[in-house]
Symmetry: D2
């Protein structure tokens, strides 16, 4: 299929987790072909990982800069690169590709520092290339359904947002790779749970409601002795326009695997969605029985339907949601290729969403340092 979009990858070597997710996500709807990679921090590991993935030896690079330079020169060089490294590498890597006009799909959070995030926004604005941030939960059909319903006024003006993202994998000290860099402020940034998962919760709350966060008050904790970043965060939220909310992120809540959940209450109804049971959206019109809207089922609308592959009752999940971000990116890249206007129903998290996420982490850390005083979000 010669029409596939040529994809490179930075990071995602053999012992990574999210790299494999990106690769599956890129294949599900058959829009991409992985053809190049700088997959690891050492040339040896990068070669081994690339070979395992079946990359041509001359498309396996020692580092992202080498890859950006050469691929930009190739006739059939990569059109887009996925950056799936630890956070502190995002900025430097993305910059190299953006300045050469290669589209970037980048893992969240955008960067490990607010300064880097701001610089990256400038780099992206100066580039012709697209920038797609994988806040993958915005790709779930029932999240789109919720957003569509709120935008259409189906629950009335939003008053209260309850969003939480508890996990339990860091309840005790861990020393394997995924845990190690995520608890190292030099690599993950100043936020621990706030950066790794709180940014997802923040992004989801804004995406679903269409609201923007104005101020927050955060009480961060590092419960595990010796931990240098927060592993639990309690945050009160004030949105522009008057809605209020609470956000809880935790990596020390036993019994929670990946329990991202959002509940939104408006003047005329409520909506509830949980990532671990993603095919369901609960909707209560005020004064009526609660309704269970299912992915592609009765009551689900166009926004969910266009991201859904199989009939209701045939569950889709994390990988399909992630694939939807890739497929939205593919639509955008193909529109760029063709020089046509992008269909407005295509949506993906942007570099500006990424900046807001890093600003959210920054605000949490600042507020907590001031004993949970209210702080506004820098931008």
């Amino acid at each position: 299929m010669t029409d596939r979009i040529r994809l490179g990858m930075v990071g995602g070597g053999n012992d990574a987790f999210i790299g494999g997710v990106h690769r599956i996500a890129s294949r599900i709807d058959d829009h991409f072909e992985l053809v190049a990679g700088a997959l690891s921090s050492t040339p040896e590991k990068s070669q081994a990982s690339g070979a395992a993935l079946g990359l041509a030896p001359d498309r396996i690079y020692d580092d992202f800069k080498q890859m950006a330079i050469r691929e930009a020169r190739l006739k059939n060089g990569i059109e887009v690169v996925s950056i799936v490294t630890p956070n502190h590498v995002h900025y430097a890597a993305a910059r190299e590709f953006l300045k050469r006009g290669i589209h970037v799909i980048c893992d969240k959070p955008l960067t490990s520092t607010l300064a880097d995030a701001k610089k990256l926004v400038k780099a992206a604005e100066a580039s012709e290339a697209l920038f797609v941030l994988t806040h993958n939960y915005t790709g779930y059909p029932m999240v789109r359904q919720a957003r569509e319903m709120i935008a259409a006024g189906q629950i009335g003006g939003v008053r209260v947002v309850q969003v939480e993202y508890p996990q339990d994998w860091l309840t005790e000290e861990q020393d394997f790779k995924q845990a190690e860099w995520r608890t190292d402020p030099a690599r993950s940034g100043a936020g621990g749970s706030t950066g790794d998962i709180g940014t997802h919760a923040h992004n989801l709350a804004c995406f679903v409601t269409g609201l923007e966060l104005e101020a927050l008050a955060a009480d961060l904790q590092a419960f595990v002795p010796g931990r240098q970043v927060d592993d639990n965060a309690h945050v009160m939220l004030r949105f522009k326009g008057g809605a209020r909310g609470m956000l809880w992120s935790s990596q020390v809540a036993p019994g929670n695997e990946n329990a991202l959940k959002i509940r939104v209450y408006g003047e005329k109804g409520g909506l509830e969605w949980a990532q671990e049971d993603p095919n369901y959206l609960w909707h209560t019109p005020l004064g009526e029985p609660k309704r269970l809207i299912t992915r592609n089922g009765a009551g689900a609308g166009d926004a969910a339907g266009r991201l859904s592959r199989v009939p209701p009752g045939h569950p889709e999940g994390y990988l399909e949601g992630f694939a939807n971000i890739y497929t939205e990116a593919a639509h955008a890249i193909r529109a760029k290729r063709a020089g046509i206007t992008l269909d407005p129903e295509v949506q993906f998290p942007s570099i500006h969403d990424g900046l807001k996420g890093v600003a959210f982490v920054d605000a949490c850390v600042r507020s907590s340092a001031r004993n949970a005083a209210w702080v506004t979000l820098a931008d």
Copy 2:
């Protein structure tokens, strides 16, 4: 059954809700017989309500003071009175009975003001009579189970408490009686959702964990135009000893009927309980599958078993939980009658718990007035 404890009631007339609940609760385990009442704010209504309940005409009183005076003199006068009026009446009514040595079972919150609460504590301390506060959710078997497990160290040291109590019945302005007094600060006190249901959530968090709240930061809202008390509250919690938590109370969250829920996470495990499905307690020992402990079922211990009437799979609910408070009160009253020491496994919310609840509301209001600054709990 001549052995029944003679019970009077203040409030709980024909159009009340909680009075009927108290009466059913008093009958379930057959420890009480309602024999007297000052059931309403007017003599006419009180008479009508008393007649409907089958009270002897000479035991139906115009007001609580008249009742306290006369019943105290009767040979077979009431031994205990249930006070089920709006909050602002609790103090004056309770005082009359306490000073005559008549035991008091009083609805929550203890009083409508902190000053009243402190005075009532003194009145109770000066009296020989018992004082039982109906924080009824502490009477649910699986709540006792949770408390027992935490006290036994089964989830390790507590780190995080998430407690919430959302409802939806005040999403729009309401003018029926139950809504009216609860949204009138003169009768309910300065707290709206915080007083009516936040106190339950606060009490439950402390009861289950055995922890005491040290400080809180509260952001209160009154979303419904013209409402004089909070109808939604976001509260961050700091417990003595280092545990942290969040508390959400709301009366404007469509789709939530009476959704009190508590989740407690410790160093070695987690527990989750929801009032609307009260026969279940979820327990996750860290690193093991989640377990569903059922009331009277496998894995349930003595603390739950002694409050359970029927086998597992035969659901008990709100009325049975409420009845457990009455039955605990009966055990205490019988022990007093007999002049024997009360079995330490008998537990009921005390006037001191009541004071803490009013202090919680007071702290929420103070904190919110100071833009959610941290305040310690007065006592």
Copy 3:
């Protein structure tokens, strides 16, 4: 309260289970006062049990016949008797009271043999007294809700009924009292799980749908070595009018405490209800999202409302459902007392329902003996 209905009890001594349930059920709505009993199979046990319940010594009887004779002669003798013995005693006991005009509330199944059931029907028809069978699950509000919706055509013509009642308490051989008589055909009748719980499932299916069972094909098993009655039953159902169904009863299904569940599917919708979560009824109008109707909540109708005591979100359960049967009985007894026509909305399982239940067990046993051939229901 002189207005209470005077109640006696046969069976229900100290080590019984269901007797205590009946007593609580009789108290919840305050219509009855237990004043007499023949509570056990020996005079000594009966005396001890009666004393523990606070009965007057002269109202504690050695056996049910003595009690029937004397109470019928007393000026304020019992008006109604609850029969809560093992099945094989029901017929002889009920007959004694019916022939003296004392109303009978009798536990299910009606009798241990079909012959006894037919004789008891004649005895009841010859008596002025009422006969109420405690198929208690028909007293749950959401069961009434389901019945009302089907009767109103809300799911169209019924096609398929799936009903099941699995338990696990007899997975291994047991020798305590409750297990012993239930697995002894001389006391329980020829059916094991079919008699003890299958009759509930059969009754519920007919009550909810308004249909009558025409024929069945049953495959019964006794999995536990040495067991003399079925402990698991698979039954295919054909209802008059063309609806079909399946019924599963089991006492050997680990993980099922008391998991009675019914699902009904019609031409225009479906309904699902589970006894262990009794406050919820799921309704799917064909082509629309599933709806969760809650007890006393939005969408619940009059039939459920009149049996509901507390607001939605305040769970009622097994004891309240059982109490509803007692309260319906009280309405009927009071109407008899007053000589007025009973309000048609008052409903309770009758002796004819009891006969159908025994016929169901008989048919299951006959069919299974013929290798699950179809048999019609004797009447």
Copy 4:
């Protein structure tokens, strides 16, 4: 990636459902590349569908025979073909590829008649090629987990199997393509719901328990007027070795989207799994609390782990389960390529499983024609 297995497809044109599922499933783990197709029943539609999929024009065929002949001669012709047509085409299509040594991945049920199924077994036995049947639900990790636990004796000897597969999409008459051929006995075979989904339920019951079905008694209905095949089926099951069960398949049960569910009860425990929430397996060890085992989570074993891509809490679903069958097929094909013995942990439904499925449908139809008499399964 030159190592991909070259895949062709028969059926699966533009307006098909299951063809697209097969294609996604083939891509998820990157083992296959679709290179040829005879995608529709007319050359024009086949060309259009192939072009839309990006196939080379000379690899798009008018019919499966032409494709089999030419691809078998090509140097880099297809190594495996996926047959995703209506049932009645399976036999003729599969035969053409098998006799040319091309592996076959075939949708279920195996064929539309028992005679065809037997002939196809012979054709497969005479071929060197592999035959893989997409009973896709055997590819779900938690189904493998259940099978592994039962095989290891974790619930003791199996006594009772409850399996059901209700849907609602044929509650009313439908005339779109997917409905049309499934309700036409000439194309689907004599079974309606039994063939389309009952075969999945039967296969799942046997796969999970490791038991073989010995006899069944079936009561089939066609509720929708004019329907020529069953749309609802009640089946009682007897397994070799003494276990018993019930199977319900339905396409007329409103509120059920794709609600395949299995429950297995043994002497020492129970297991429950539902396809619509596939990441969960409930396990009750007799006398202990119910446990929730999650995909890749605590308590999950090797059999589930090897088919799982992402951490617990990140739901996988229908497409991933389907992909697991493709990946198992890929392992088998690669082992064939390499001439090595296949790792015994690799498992996929075989042609013999397919024959059993068609025999199941045949037995259901025969039994129902004899008024639900017991029939043994032909083979």
